[in-house]
Structure formats: C-alpha cells, structure tokens
C-alpha cells in the first residue's frame, strides 16, 4: 500500500508512559471486522479512551487537550501481541507518523514500516528524558530526521541516533513498498519456486 514519503518531522508528542502496550489495547479485536483500511483511528486505544457508554475517559492522554502532535511516545515493549496490522493502521489513521519507544515488538515494528509509520527505538535513558520534558511542557517539540537517523529533543538539544536498515529507509523516504520490489524480481522467484520440493 502506497503511503506518503517520510523524511523529517518536527512535532509535539503524546506521551503514554506504560510498558507492554499490546495490540489489543491499540485496537481491540471487536473493531477488526472491516474489509477496508479506513477509520481505524476512531477506535485507537478504544477501551482506554472511552467508557463503555462511549463517553471519553478524561484521564487518558488522547482526551487531554494539553497533548497533541504526530509523535506517539510509548513505554518499553510497545506493540506486543497480535499480528494485526490494524494496530499500525489505527496509529497512522489517528494522525501519528512516528512511534518512539525503548523497545518494540517485532511484528508491530514491521507492520509500521510497511505502512509508513516510523518506529524510533531509543535508549531507556533518552525515553525517560522525553517523558520528563513533555510532562513538564506539553508544547515541547521533537525532531525526527530519517535521512540522518537522528531524534532530537529541541528544548534541550539532547539527541540520539536510531537504527533502520538501508532498504527500509530508502522505501520510507521515497514512499515505495515491498511489493514493488518483489514484482521486479518475479522471474527469479518463479525460477526458485521450481526448485522447491513441496
């Protein structure tokens, strides 16, 4: 699925300092009945965000007008659990383009990269600095520079580099996806298929 190119982003951030945020919290299973990709942002963090009568839970960060922005900052082991890409779609559809954490679950990280959300893994120390700075001043901005692989806390100038492989970096900066690549090597794949015994 094609998505907007990503190079740099400067934005305020939404802090969610909870560990092991699983994909059932990001998008509960009962909202996976759609057959298209639209509208998942409405149910992002549904059960943390709304009471069962659909009234907003005021103490949840997405309902707090102090916090906004295109960067979601989560605690360690963000996105554990199910392979549902709907979780990444919900994050994207809500308006986030970057998720920052000190550790990501594997499938969630891969899903994000495949749909144009950049997972930025930082040290536990730097994550703590971001949480502190944003808590102190919700208007604190972060700058995420993909070509330079660098994230900067603009209020203090603290920064850290982050990992991404060259292939995925190239895809994200150009808005390419893997299927474009795979279709280009289709002949090789078909030759390879003939060698498989079963």
């Amino acid at each position: 699925m094609a998505y907007d190119k990503f190079t740099t982003l400067t934005s305020t951030a939404v802090p969610l300092p909870i560990e092991n945020v699983d994909t059932d919290q990001i998008i509960p299973a009962r909202f996976l009945k759609a057959t298209e990709r639209e509208g998942f942002g409405d149910n992002l963090f549904r059960d943390w965000r709304y009471n069962q009568d659909n009234s907003p839970k005021e103490d949840f960060v997405l309902n707090n007008p102090k916090y906004s922005g295109k960067i979601l900052v989560g605690g360690k082991n963000f996105g554990s659990g199910s392979s549902r890409e709907h979780a990444a779609w919900a994050v994207y559809d809500y308006g986030f383009r970057v998720v920052v954490s000190s550790f990501f679950a594997d499938i969630f990280r891969g899903n994000c990269l495949n749909i144009g959300v950049l997972p930025v893994q930082v040290s536990a120390d730097f994550l703590g600095k971001i949480f502190n700075a944003v808590e102190k001043n919700p208007r604190t901005e972060l700058k995420v520079d993909l070509p330079e692989q660098k994230i900067t806390l603009l209020s203090t100038g603290d920064n850290e580099s982050f990992d991404i492989n060259d292939y995925k970096k190239n895809n994200m900066t150009n808005g390419f996806d893997d299927i474009d690549y795979l279709l280009n090597i289709k002949k090789d794949i078909q030759e390879f298929a003939k060698t498989r015994p079963f």
Partner: protein
C-alpha cells in the same frame, strides 16, 4: 564462521531467493494460510494493483476468527461478520484458493486444521496473518505471523521480505511432574523470559521434555512462542513428527514421501552449532501454572502467591496498573479465588489431547453452578474425535456442552464474550486487558487447571482432584 548449522539456519537459508545488503532477505514461502480478518485488505491491494495470486495452490483459506460457535448452519447474524466471511469466500473463489468456510467438514481454526490435513510439513516456510502461526514450528517448519501488507506480498509473489532473526535455544531437561502439561511448560518459560525476552529471536526448543512430548503438546508450546516476543519457535522433526504426518491428505505420498523423508531427516541442529542465546531449565521443577496479570509473562506456579511489586522486573506502576485491573493484591494466593467463566479451546489448547485432559478431571463430577463454560473444539475433526472417543458423553454427563469450532472467546470477536468484571480461566493464549471482552479478566492455564476450576467454581490445583482418583 562455523559451517555447523542450526535447524533454523538450515530451513531459512534454503528459502532465501535474494539477499539485500543491509536489508531484509527475500524469503520464499511454501505454505500460506489466510482467514477472514487479516486478508480482505490484502486482496483489495491486489485488485488496486491489477495483479493476481502467483501461486494459489500454496494458499489455503479457512474462516475461524469471526465465526459463531453455535448454529453455524444458520446465516451469521452480525452483518459486519457476515460481510467479512462473504469477502473471504469471494476472494478465495476469484483466485482459485482452497476455501474451507463455515460448515465445511474441514473447517476449523487455521492452526489446528493446517497440521490435521498435512498442509504443515517439516522444513517448510509457513506464514499466516496471525501471530500464532508459530504453532506450525512444532513440525520443524519455520512458521510465523505476518501483517496484512505481508499477506498481500505473499499472494502477489509467494515471498516476503524479512531480516533474519537471531537464534535462541531453550532446553528443558528431565521429566515433567504429574499434572504438568505442555501449556504449563510454555507459561513457565514465558514467566522466566517475560513477554519481550525473546523479541528478535527465533527459538528452537530442545531437551528430553520436548523429545517425549506429543505433537499436540509441541504445537501448544510453539504456539506460545510469540508470547515471549519470539517470531516463532521450532522443534526438530523426529519419529513422533513423521508418524503424525504420514498419510494425511496433503503430505507427500509414495516416492515423494521417501524423498521428503530423506530431506526431513537432515533437519536437526548440528553438534557445536552456535546460538546467539541459550537457556536451560529443569523440567521437573515446573508446576501447573496460572497467570495473575494482564500479560502472559505474569504467570506462576498455581500454589504460589502473587509477587510483590519490588520482586518484579520493570516498572512498578505498570505492574500495579495490571493488578488493579485484575482486582488482585500483591501477595494474594490464587488458590480459592472464585471464578465465573471457563474457556477450553483456541489454537493453543483446542486439540483432542486437550479435551481428553479436560474430560479426565470432569468425569464423574459436576460443573459448578457459578460457572459458565464454553468448550470449543479447534476443528470439526477434533469435534468428531471428541464424539468417537466417548468424551462428549463424559462432559455432557458432567453438565457441559460442546460448541462448534472457531477462535471463539480467545479474542471474543464473535458473541463469546466474557462480561465486564467477570473472571475467566482460559486455555487460550492472551490475558491482555479486555481480550475476552471489554472489562473481562483472564487467567491463562492448562486444560487440567481449567477443568478443576470448572467443577469446583474456583481456582484449584488439579493435582488434588487427580490424586484423589488415583488413591
């Protein structure tokens, strides 16, 4: 660099079509399974690109996540679910993919029917848009869950692009105690590693405990690999494996079988092969397990007390939030806690062996009045075996009913939802907040622990009920 290879390396390396420098491998996929929830957007993607399915004969479709477990012969009532099921059928038909829909004799949970019909074989690469695809690793396959973009990749090209994970071996030595099942082994490992302890790794399970384990048990263990963060887990194929798969509908026959066997018998980790991480546990120390928190790593031996926040790794505030959700206190004993629901089923514990275990405890006893129990076979084949082995009569006599196959209350996409605040003992794989319905509280455990809870109405050590029988 040693030429000695791990089981994982042997299978992975033989499927690499292309290697991209400082990027992922292009990995050929032998078997692809799809279900109604994570596939429609992938098929839509193909349509938008104007392309078809490259190898429809390598993809198999079954409806399981979003299906009712009663009255499957009637039209599905929920219009969104009905539409999703209809889309799967239409997409499968349009692209010439085998489709085992609701009511089909081969229908069931994707990770139960794959092995049952011999779609799952050693040495294969197997993917599905479901994280519990790791189940198939029990056969010595590389099997893992993928996202919908990757489902589209496999449909379009029979390949996906994946960085190669690191290798971990987990050895469990010795012999399991009476009353300890494969589910307990898995919950024990996860409690030791936490839910992120194996992230970035592919796990091989080795040691006597797995050697002596049935295929059903191995599937339960491999199924739960994802719950410690691993992409997948696998066990080297042996006589138990070959005996299980021989003669199944999709396994090779005649000469092809002999040729396959020659290959499959090479699928083991070479002596002295190097793992990035290796762990060993004594299997005889594992107790029947139960979880007390909101992730599968928050588990302990059933007779223990809930740890205090100063004893656990990680953030105390997250830990306290989790116990608050569960309405449990630090230091509480789990034994004796009254429960409301029991769920036997899922791709983790919905196989015949699980129903045998459950029946062994409820036999001659009665379901507790305060318990609502959902017994959901993993497939029609399991359902048939339950009837043929006389287990249905036993569970009915004890006051239980058998439902029709599907994922059911494991993720509660259908009507099988545990109500808010209610406590369920569940043989499934996740105890996340609201996993079994908004506000539901889940205790993960084995079929024996579930059965003991179902007849006593509270958390009970199943060994007490088993020992009485033996006396």
């Amino acid at each position: 660099m040693s030429s000695k290879k791990t089981l994982f390396d042997k299978v992975w390396d033989s499927h690499v079509v292309h290697q991209i420098e400082n990027g992922p491998d292009v990995l050929f996929i032998d078997r692809h399974m799809v279900h109604e929830v994570t596939s429609p957007v992938a098929f839509l993607g193909l349509k938008n690109r104007g392309i078809g399915v490259l190898h429809p004969e390598k993809t198999f479709a079954t409806a399981d996540h979003n299906t009712p477990t009663i009255n499957q012969h009637l039209p599905v009532e929920d219009p969104l679910s009905a539409h999703q099921l209809k889309m799967l059928e239409e997409n499968a038909n349009e692209h010439g993919i085998s489709y085992w829909g609701l009511g089909h004799e081969k229908n069931g949970i994707v990770h139960v029917v794959g092995p049952e019909y011999g779609i799952t074989v050693p040495g294969a690469t197997i993917v599905c848009g479901d994280s519990h695809t790791s189940t198939h690793g029990a056969f010595g396959a590389i099997a893992f869950g993928i996202g919908t973009s990757e489902v589209e990749m496999v449909l379009a090209s029979q390949c996906i692009m994946q960085p190669k994970p690191k290798r971990m071996r987990i050895n469990i030595t010795g012999e399991l105690q009476f009353g300890v099942t494969p589910k307990d082994v898995a919950l024990f490992i996860i409690s030791q590693l936490t839910t992120s302890g194996a992230t970035g790794y592919f796990v091989e399970y080795a040691g006597d405990v797995f050697k002596n384990m049935s295929m059903e048990g191995r599937m339960t263990v491999c199924n739960l690999s994802i719950e410690m963060g691993a992409r997948g887990g696998m066990i080297a194929p042996d006589e138990t494996t070959f005996h299980y798969i021989k003669g199944r509908e999709f396994t090779p026959k005649g000469e092809a079988w002999d040729k396959a066997m020659d290959y499959w018998q090479t699928l083991y980790t070479d002596a002295d092969a190097i793992f990035d991480k290796e762990l060993t546990f004594d299997g005889s120390l594992i107790e029947p397990m139960i979880t007390y928190g909101t992730n599968p790593g928050m588990g302990m031996g059933i007779s223990n007390d809930i740890p205090t926040s100063n004893m656990v790794q990680g953030g105390a505030s997250t830990y306290k939030k989790s116990l608050d959700y569960m309405k449990f206190g630090e230091g509480d004993s789990m034994i004796g806690k009254p429960i409301d629901f029991v769920f036997l089923g899922s791709c983790t514990n919905g196989r015949i062996e699980d129903f045998r275990a459950f029946a062994s405890i409820v036999k001659g006893r009665k379901k507790a009045d305060n318990v609502t129990a959902w017994l959901v076979p993993g497939s029609h084949k399991v359902e048939k075996a339950i009837k043929e082995e006389g287990l249905l009569a036993i569970i009915k006599e004890a006051g239980f009913e058998l439902r029709e196959p599907g994922c059911s209350a494991c993720l509660a996409m259908n009507d099988d939802k545990v109500p808010s605040g209610k406590l369920a003992v569940s043989t499934s794989n996740r105890n996340f907040e609201g996993r079994q319905g908004p506000g539901s509280r889940t205790l993960l455990a084995s079929p024996l622990v579930a059965a003991a809870a179902a007849v006593t109405g509270k958390v009970t050590d199943p060994r007490e009920l088993m020992e009485k029988e033996m006396a």
